[in-house]
Amino acid sequence: MFAFIVRRLLLAIPTLFGVLVVVFLLLYVAPGDPVQEMVGERADPETIARLRKELHLDEPLLKQFTLYTGGVLRGDFGNSYITQRPIIRDIRERFPKTLLLAGSAMLLASVLGITIGVLSSRHPGGWFDRLGLGVAYLGISFPVYWVGLILILVFAVMLRWLPPSGYGGIKYLILPAFALGSRSIAFLARITRSAMLDVLGGDFVRTARAKGLRERAVVIRHALRNALIPIITVLGLDFGYYLTGSILTETIFSWPGLGRYVVNAITRRDLPAIQGSVLFLSVIFVLVNLLTDLAYAKADPRVAYS
């Protein structure tokens, strides 16, 4: 197990280096000029040339890349061109907020999604199953920004139960977590239902029932446990996706997370901020994938890592 983790982490290094190269090249060829964003609407060519030199943007591509990679290897992601703050500090400030939002969305999605899925699978074609199907269709079809705005309109403007946006206590978390998690709720409900239906027909379930176990124990301890593999796959993928891509939700709910930071950095061509955060998010994605794989082994003892 330990060897497996170490090997996976070592394999992540070339992946991350690849990310570094691709992001660097993309930004190099992309139109838009960081220096012009720094100086604003009115500037003289001398100032622009001077800043370009100071930021080493006039150096050849390879030199720029070595300078940047050298910094990264020393743990220095550079400073933002715009605010001159260290990128690391910006990320450290924003990532926990993104993590909180993504984590809450996942928690909400697993509790609601798996519950709906399990209950639906108990009586396929029954009224709850059909209701669950309807909810799932809605959850998958509606785009997150639409769900977000409707939630704000209903719960914040009309009912005034919750604040429309911002970052703070649990009150502020409910709407964005629900908006972000709505797709996963729907998806998990469907996956859980079909995985459960597969398993519930199995011999061991009949045996469990024959032993006289209570239905609850049969469904939760025996059936659900065996249906977990596809559920974990969905959870892992969605969690990685939420950690790296909750930009729309963060924007609609004014959530000060990493997604908005990246978008701002891109619009202002803040190169170190874009490179640093994309690299960081790649690390997160690799780690979430690793955790997902480890969770498989926990859920199914037949899965072994060596």
Binding site: P31, R42, R85, P164, G166, Y261, N264
Partner: protein
């Protein structure tokens, strides 16, 4: 919120709460004394002597003295600051050399004592005091810490309390403010990227004052309850389509005039902008000195446009690229303009990119037409005529029309030196008329800012210049 690094409007606003310049703007865009209680100009217009207020303290308790002005301006220009926003100080003798790393001091800047600052300019520049009210020229204490922008210390009406990035900025009343402390205890600027969310926050009563988005404008005007909350004022913001006068058929003035006749600005203004603005006839907004009130914009006249095109040798119309950013109203404006141009036989292909890419291309001279907005830094006709059309400002300086007319340049040069305001305004009027005939752009409109103000807020006026509202006179009754 480091003044030396401020380039955008939101930062500039926050800087105006915390800091003071030697001068400042009132909400109706007048220049009034700030940290300088008065100033004298030598008869030749070269030497400015600023008499500073005494007894003013920074928020950390240290006294404000003349030396702070010198070190603040040096820091703005110092190459090590990596600010790149030093141009408002370039009129000072030696400032440009200092910014280029040549010279240890700014030769034209001195503080002979604690309450006097003497500034010598390279050449007369009558509107110089207006440039000292810009965010970048705000005065900061000596030896700022490296993270100064995160924990700014100024002399202004509001003390910095907290900045939660991408969430809010919080300020507390400065009880010792020299011009009288603000009438409320605290000020909070919420950062809400999505306009529908901002509108929802206002409707939920969580936001006191909201800059109403264009999208919401029409429905709010139509709702009698909401209409009562609206308050508006002409802004120093100008929407236009820069015509690159160096590219192909666009170098012909008849083609450029045809473009102006083809575009139906009145309809675009009401349909796309919910009527928020006034049609432009020239680049000087009607609220500023030098604007010619009697001049009308190019009328919408498709036949005339076709006739001019034919005379210029394009009887079958012509093809142009119309560049527009993906932000604000640019996409919708460009589509409306494209439809108008098509009626006159001008086939415009819309090139839509993110703002940074479009700006870069236009500054390089790679765009034919470019839909854009100009947001004034200071309330003076010069801030429109000079950056947008003076020949030396081609490209990054702001003149993306690449317009170059020696007569126009000469008028602006003369206006720069002219000390008498009414004579200066007359020169602006002449210059504006000149370029209006040359049509280096399609004149669209001057924007009108609309704010929604909750009934419990009193004393708020919509500022004409972005950093003209400092919230000192606003009161709450709730």
């Amino acid at each position: 919120m480091d003044p030396a690094l401020s380039t955008d409007v939101p930062t500039g606003r926050a800087v105006a709460y915390i800091f003071d310049g030697l001068t400042r703007f009132t909400p109706d865009a007048k220049v009034v004394p700030g940290l300088a209680k008065s100033w004298d100009v030598s008869p030749d217009g070269i030497t400015y002597t600023f008499h500073l207020r005494s007894g003013v303290k920074f928020h950390d308790g240290s006294p404000f003295i003349g030396k702070n002005v010198v070190s603040t301006f040096q820091r703005v220009l110092d190459p090590k600051t990596k600010g790149g926003r030093g141009w408002p100080l370039y009129p000072i003798k030696g400032a440009e050399d200092f910014a280029a790393g040549k010279g240890q001091t700014i030769t034209g800047l001195a503080a002979p004592n604690d309450t006097t600052v003497v500034i010598t300019l390279k050449e007369p520049f009558a509107i110089f005091p207006k440039l000292l009210a810009m965010p970048v020229t705000s005065i900061i204490p000596d030896n700022p810490s490296p993270g100064f922008g995160q924990k700014p210390i100024g002399t202004g009406p509001w003390k910095f309390v907290e900045w939660r990035h991408d969430d809010f900025l919080k300020f507390a009343r400065n009880p010792d403010y020299f011009d009288g402390p603000p009438k409320t205890d605290s000020l909070m600027a919420r950062i809400i990227p999505e306009m529908s969310t901002a509108t929802a926050e206002f409707e939920a009563g969580n936001v006191d004052i909201l800059s109403v988005p264009d999208e919401a404008g029409k429905s709010w005007e139509a709702d009698p309850e909401k209409k009562k909350l609206l308050s508006s004022a002409p802004a120093l913001r100008f929407w236009y389509v820069a015509i690159n006068v160096t590219r192909g058929p666009l170098s012909d003035v008849r083609v450029r005039q045809a473009l102006n006749y083809a575009v139906d600005v009145n309809t675009i203004l009401s349909a796309v902008m919910a009527g928020r603005g006034s049609v432009a006839a020239g680049v000087v907004p009607p609220t500023l000195g030098g604007a010619e009130a009697s001049r009308k914009g190019y009328p919408h006249d498709v036949a005339k446009a076709k006739q001019l095109l034919a005379a210029a040798g394009h009887p079958n119309g012509l093809d142009v690229e119309l560049w527009a950013a993906t932000t604000d109203q640019s996409p919708r404006l460009s589509q409306a303009i494209q439809a108008n141009l098509a009626e006159a036989g001008i086939r415009a292909k819309i090139v839509q990119r993110d703002a940074s890419s479009v700006r870069e291309a236009a500054r390089k001279g790679a765009s034919d037409l470019y839909v854009k907005e100009w947001w004034a830094d200071y309330p003076d006709a010069e801030n429109f005529l000079f950056p947008l059309l003076y020949s030396k400002n081609k490209g990054p300086g702001g003149n993306v029309s690449f317009y170059s007319n020696p007569k126009f340049d000469a008028l602006i040069d003369q206006a720069h030196r002219e000390q008498d305001e009414s004579k200066r305004n007359a020169l602006y009027t002449q210059a504006d008329q000149l370029e209006f005939n040359d049509a280096p752009m399609v004149y669209l409109f001057f924007y009108k800012d609309v704010y929604a103000v909750q009934p419990w807020i009193h004393g708020f006026t919509v500022p004409a210049v972005f950093n003209g509202q400092r919230w000192s006179d606003v009161t709450i009754s709730k």
